[in-house]
């Protein structure tokens, strides 16, 4: 009788401990996923700020270039063959970059509904996947805008 009671208690302790262990493990994984989602969201925010800064730089340089072009057209100043060559090359590069930028246009907005759904369902796995996809697009844009700024620097130096 005593032996049966001991066995029963041991089984009970084992079941309880395994259940609590599983629960603790699930909680830990949940916290890890949540933390990963938060940290990924932080990267998305940082990238958003970087894109805004780069876009502002492009805007300023673009407006400056337009002003210089206007002056050149009004004055009818001479341009050297080398300048014309650089300008022609700039046209090609600007067109290429614009076409490249078009390829990702509207893709981030398309994720808004999916993220909202994942957020409401507290589905951190999906949230993490979606954020990572957005970061990929953001990185492409950061590269494109950085390149665009370089092209505009060359253009401004030539004009």
């Amino acid at each position: 009788m005593m032996k049966k009671l001991i066995l029963f208690l041991l089984l009970f302790i084992m079941i309880i401990s395994s259940t609590s262990y599983a629960q603790e493990r699930a909680d830990r994984e949940g916290r890890q996923k949540r933390t990963a989602a938060f940290s990924t969201a932080t990267i998305v925010t940082e990238n958003r700020t970087t894109i805004k800064t780069l876009a502002d730089e492009v805007r300023v340089k673009t407006n400056l270039s337009k002003q210089r072009i206007k002056v050149l057209l009004e004055r009818k100043d001479e341009l050297s063959t080398e300048q014309l060559k650089i300008l022609k090359n700039s046209i090609v590069l600007i067109k290429e970059t614009q076409e490249a930028m078009k390829t990702t246009m509207g893709q981030i907005n398309a994720y808004n509904n999916d993220i909202l759904a994942a957020r409401q369902a507290k589905d951190f796995d999906t949230l993490l996947i979606l954020y990572r996809q957005i970061i990929k697009i953001q990185n492409i844009r950061i590269n494109q805008l950085t390149r665009y700024n370089q092209i505009l620097d060359t253009l401004l130096n030539t004009l």
Binding site: V58, I94, G106
Partner: protein
């Protein structure tokens, strides 16, 4: 005898009238070509062929004049002095000017002046860049609009 003389005189007058008619037609062609609108008259076509220096023996106009005759006739028009003789006409400077003006009618043949070409190229390039920069500005607006909303960027404590 007197009747024959009258007939001969009438015949000569008739010939002279025909020749005048030819010149009148060519004057019309010239005005059209200057206005860049002459594309209907066969006479003007033959003149254009002459001015582009592609002498083709098969290109005869309705009056039966050859391309060399037309060239001569066009020189008459530009000089303003009708010439009844249609033989051995040498090209004159005025005629070359006329050739250039009629060449402008065809976009393929472009006046080749290095200065002019540079100016055109420069203006075209600058205008094209200006247009591209306008496109850039509108693209930037679209790019900035295409971003994740603030609500969808989860923060610590935002989701329990």
């Amino acid at each position: 005898m007197q009747k024959r003389l009258i007939i001969c005189a009438l015949f000569i007058l008739l010939l002279a009238g025909c020749q005048d008619r030819k010149v009148t037609k060519l004057v019309e062609v010239d005005q059209n070509s200057i206005d860049y609108k002459s594309q209907e008259s066969d006479v003007s076509e033959s003149i254009l062929e002459n001015t582009t220096q592609n002498i083709n023996e098969s290109s005869r106009d309705v009056d039966g004049t050859t391309s060399s005759e037309n060239a001569k006739a066009s020189s008459e028009v530009t000089n303003g002095t009708p010439n009844t003789s249609f033989d051995d006409v040498k090209p004159q400077p005025d005629e070359e000017e006329y050739s250039n003006s009629s060449n402008l009618q065809k976009p393929i043949i472009i006046a080749k002046s290095e200065d002019l070409e540079d100016i055109n190229e420069r203006t075209l390039i600058l205008n094209e860049i200006d247009d591209l920069l306008d496109t850039t500005l509108s693209s930037l607006e679209k790019l900035e609009e295409d971003t994740l909303s603030d609500d969808n960027i989860v923060e610590e404590g935002g989701i329990e």
